[in-house]
Point group: C2
Chain length 248, copies 2
């Protein structure tokens, strides 16, 4: 089973990859780790595949590029090898119970760059977990935004994508508040309907449309610190690979 963690820089992909891997190992599974981040300095797991063996952002910056240019260039260099990486990952999938893919630090290096789409299209039914941080949920529009963003990833990478609120340890008692809006789209829509602004109307329309396209994907609530949601993540992965994608 291949699990791909996608999210913006700082959303906790690398820590979660390590901690969820440790959890799976304790459960008796064998786990392979893939690092696709050319910019990461050190990893809390030992990768079986590491793109930094081919190129790092640091090397490119030493040759004179700025950080943005170096990040883009590193994936330009990796792109012709995307299929080889996909083959390596597919081979590991045969040997290991789980293959955990830790994607580029900057989400756009994966989502908007050929490297990401070329790699993903060469994997068999990849499952994506889209990690977002409680900090980006400031107003009701943002709840609609993250639900839709998971769809955008699905559309771009042709991969079933499960949205996951990560770092729930930092919100503690407010989790139920977040869940109320994230799990219950009808409730979110009804609240957005009361917003008279142009933005409120857009969010309302988008949110009301969502059930037409995402009825079968549930949300996850995760914490790498407490291990919350790990069991459910394991179940979701199992169901995706073993019962053909019914994630209701």
């Amino acid at each position: 089973m291949i699990l791909t963690f996608i999210g913006t820089a700082g959303s906790g992909k690398t820590t979660l990859t390590a901690k969820f891997g440790q959890y799976l190992e304790k459960e008796g599974h064998n786990v392979a780790y893939i690092n696709l981040d050319t910019g990461v300095k050190s990893l809390p797991y030992t990768p079986h595949v590491d793109v930094r063996e081919m190129i790092t952002v640091e090397q490119l910056m030493k040759s004179g590029l700025g950080p943005n240019g170096a990040i883009v260039k590193s994936y330009d260099i990796l792109t012709p090898h995307a299929k080889e990486y996909a083959n390596e990952i597919s081979k590991l999938e045969e040997e290991f119970d789980y293959v955990l893919i830790d994607t580029p630090g900057q989400m756009e290096s994966f989502l908007f760059h050929d490297f990401g789409s070329n790699l993903m299209e060469n994997l068999r039914e990849p499952l994506v977990v889209y990690l977002f941080d409680p900090n980006i949920l400031k107003n009701l529009y943002d709840y609609c935004f993250v639900r839709f963003f998971a769809l955008m990833i699905d559309l771009r990478l042709s991969a079933t994508t499960i949205p996951a609120l990560n770092k729930i340890d930092i919100i503690k008692n407010e989790l139920e508040y977040y869940k109320k809006y994230l799990d219950n789209l009808e409730y979110l829509s009804s609240r957005l309907r009361l917003d008279p602004s142009t933005q409120g109307y857009l969010a309302y329309k988008l949110c009301s449309f969502l059930p037409d396209v995402i009825s079968s994907v549930r949300l996850l609530y995760l914490s790498a610190i407490s291990g919350a949601g790990f069991e459910e993540l394991e179940t979701v992965a199992y169901e995706h690979y073993c019962t053909c994608g019914d994630l209701t």
Copy 2:
């Protein structure tokens, strides 16, 4: 009038800011330039506001951070000053005909970080131009993706967002092919409908829904090299600020 250029690293924001600014100046307008990229090494315009005066990615990397961490940290440092920057930009708007905002190299530093939303919510009716590269349009789903992505920016930043295919000089004779799918959502939908895959169905549903929410926003086709689309961009900005957002 404030124009904000948003797009992934390498989508041509900085070059377009410079070239469109030169065009406006030749037309007799006075133009202010804002650089919000903490990672850029050199600029092809002289900025009136430059976030690098407060912090740069390079400084943070010297203190030991990796490129991703340094990019995030630089915007963490800028966030408490987002409102001051918005005030500075608003003052420039009174003095200058046009204020062109060149946003962070990595789009997610603006779209997913408080810095971006805090800054934008303190500007009066900001207009956003979402730049995407012909290279990301590989299959029909991608056409649907970019149209929807502009909506995501609109939703997240509460700002009218116009999608713009940039670098049209590199596609030359194929421009009509791109336009056929980007301009005519009905045609795109009818093609997607023939796709029997799960992905095709998702793209078809999303694409068919689009006219419900974006009927009034047209697309731009730009080139910083040839100056194509500059006149139309100027018109769109004028219409946004002077006729209250009717961009049909």
